[in-house]
């Protein structure tokens, strides 16, 4: 796996808090973009290309938002890959800089899932296979199969969700912030969505925006401050595996995460043992559990032990979903992957305050998107 042609650094990040308050998406997108520019110290004319990630919003919304930043004539491109949209927009920005197209690029994600239509096969509402085989069902079937094969308990799923709710308590950008410690009992006592998943195990669907600015080493040096380098940027779609599923909500075979992360580790010259923190597509807790194994953090069938011993909590050996994850920070769609980048950059700078992972130097961001796609980025403080 080749290295990036030019070194790329994250020089600015910004977010509008994820929320369920009906804030106009256009306004949130503007706020996040300006926050990233302010964070970098750059002005918009220094941005060479803008990659907008959104699922809703309509035709041309990304270009309309860009006009609020300034009419500089730069290429503005819409990126969409379901849940992995923001991660893919970030990847496009990284490769635009790495490949020499521009010296500075911005990725901006924005959405409000409450204002989008549902998933469905056109023209036959309620009758098509994708109208009844929804994401909640897909991940619940992962969960029941895992319980059958590995003896995973419902309490383990609830422990992961409670951990992520409690991580979000210290994140001002999180959608779900409670004023008390979230417990396993409270998770289990919430509304049943799809057995064995309850509503407090399901990702928070709402609105929000997030942005990141990447640049060459020369620009990063000029800006100064902690240098956060992109040491791996990998994106894959699915390959055929036994039991391959083509129809219904699908997020690809498990092998896709294994393959994409392996490519990222090779590109970075690192292994899972070098990571200090990880963000994953934890739309439901079974995902986070399975990704412990697929990302190589532990061996096959050993993920449940990581939960029991608290190794993936802040303060543990390898904290996951330090900002609350999709579970509690939220999952608006387009900005979700960029929120992971935002969180990882804060952690690597050492500015994550009460949720800071001590000594964090290397972080991995993983997103999966329906369709199916998988994206893995590894960031490292130089």
């Amino acid at each position: 796996m080749s290295l990036l042609a030019r070194d790329v650094y994250v020089v600015g990040v910004g977010m509008h808090p994820f929320n369920n308050d009906g804030v106009p998406v256009y306004d949130m997108a503007y706020d996040a973009g300006i926050a990233a520019l302010d964070d970098s110290g750059l002005d918009f004319p220094e941005i060479g290309a803008l990659y907008n990630g959104y699922l809703g919003g309509g035709i041309g919304m990304g270009v309309r938002v860009a006009k609020e930043f300034g009419l500089t004539g730069i290429p503005v491109t819409h990126v969409e890959n379901a849940s992995a949209t923001g991660s893919c927009a970030f990847g496009e920005a990284v490769h635009a800089v790495a490949g020499g197209r521009v010296d500075v690029a911005m990725a901006l994600g924005f959405d409000d899932l409450n204002r989008m239509g549902g998933i469905g096969r056109s023209g036959k509402p309620g009758l098509g296979a994708e109208d009844v085989m929804l994401p909640a069902a897909f991940f619940a079937m992962w969960a029941t199969r895992r319980m059958h094969e590995c003896g995973t308990t419902v309490e383990t799923y609830a422990q992961i969700a409670a951990k992520n709710w409690n991580h979000a308590r210290e994140n001002p950008f999180a959608q779900r912030r409670v004023d008390h410690e979230m417990t396993v009992d409270e998770i289990l006592g919430s509304t049943m969505i799809a057995y064995p998943h309850t509503s407090k195990m399901a990702c928070a669907a709402g609105g929000g925006a997030a942005a990141a600015i990447v640049a060459t080493e020369e620009v990063a040096r000029r800006i100064g401050g902690p240098a956060i380098k992109v040491v791996a940027s990998q994106q894959q779609s699915e390959t055929y595996t036994d039991g391959h599923v083509f129809l219904g909500a699908v997020i690809g075979p498990a092998q896709m995460t294994r393959d994409t992360s392996a490519a990222a580790y090779e590109q970075a010259g690192l292994g899972p043992g070098d990571l200090d923190l990880v963000q994953v597509h934890d739309a439901f807790p079974v995902e986070e559990l399975v990704y412990y194994e697929l990302l190589g953090i532990c061996g096959e069938g050993e993920a449940d032990k990581l939960v029991a011993t608290g190794e993936t909590s802040i303060g543990g050996r390898i904290p996951f979903s330090t900002d609350g994850g999709l579970t509690a920070r939220g999952h608006p769609g387009g900005p979700t992957g960029l929120a992971q980048i935002h969180e990882t950059v804060l952690q690597l700078r050492g500015t994550a305050r009460l949720r800071q992972v001590d000594g964090a130097r290397t972080g991995l961001c993983h997103m999966a998107g329906a369709g199916s796609v998988c994206v893995v980025h590894i960031l490292q403080r130089s």
Binding site: N114, G118, R121, K124, G126, L127, G128, A129, V132, M133, L134, P135, A136, A137, F138, A140, M141, W142, A143, T144, R145, H148, T191, M192, I193, A194, Y195, P196, S199, A202, C203, A205, Y240, D242, G243, H244, V245, F246, L247, G248, A249, V250
Partner: protein
């Protein structure tokens, strides 16, 4: 009686007890697929249409109470079961299940069946497909 999507399944022919799923077979790779493919996604070789099923083994299941993660609830009407069923051809099908949680377990033998979903504009009965546990 009319199938809701005749690209995905067909009604039972004379003498058949159950409907069939409409899939593809790639002779070069020996692989079966559902729904139908334009060509084999593994070898890019030609495929031909085949009928699949109608009996398989339950790989996994759930019961969906609130399909859109809190935004929509079935309330007192209950919800519905969904499952992944492995067919002998090596194809895994995601589909709704007949019954409730007590009616199935992983490893159960499951048969394809029809499920009424109303009528079209001309009054013809519309049916979709589901799997049911075979006892």
């Amino acid at each position: 009686m009319i199938p809701t999507d005749d690209e995905l399944f067909r009604l039972p022919d004379d003498g058949e007890q159950r409907p069939r799923l409409r899939g593809s077979f790639a002779p070069e790779s020996g692989l079966y697929f559902w729904p139908r493919r334009k060509r084999c996604p593994v070898t890019r070789s030609a495929v031909r249409d085949v009928d699949l099923g109608p009996v398989g083994v339950l790989h996994s299941w759930t019961f969906l109470h609130v399909p859109r993660m809190g935004k929509v609830s079935f309330g007192d009407s209950g919800g519905y079961g969904v499952g992944q069923v492995d067919l002998p051809e090596g194809v895994r099908i995601q589909a709704p299940l007949m019954g409730t949680e007590a009616d199935w377990s992983i490893g159960d033998e499951m048969g394809l069946t029809l499920f009424p979903v109303g009528a079209d504009d001309e009054g013809n009965e519309l049916v979709t497909f589901r799997f049911e546990a075979i006892r």
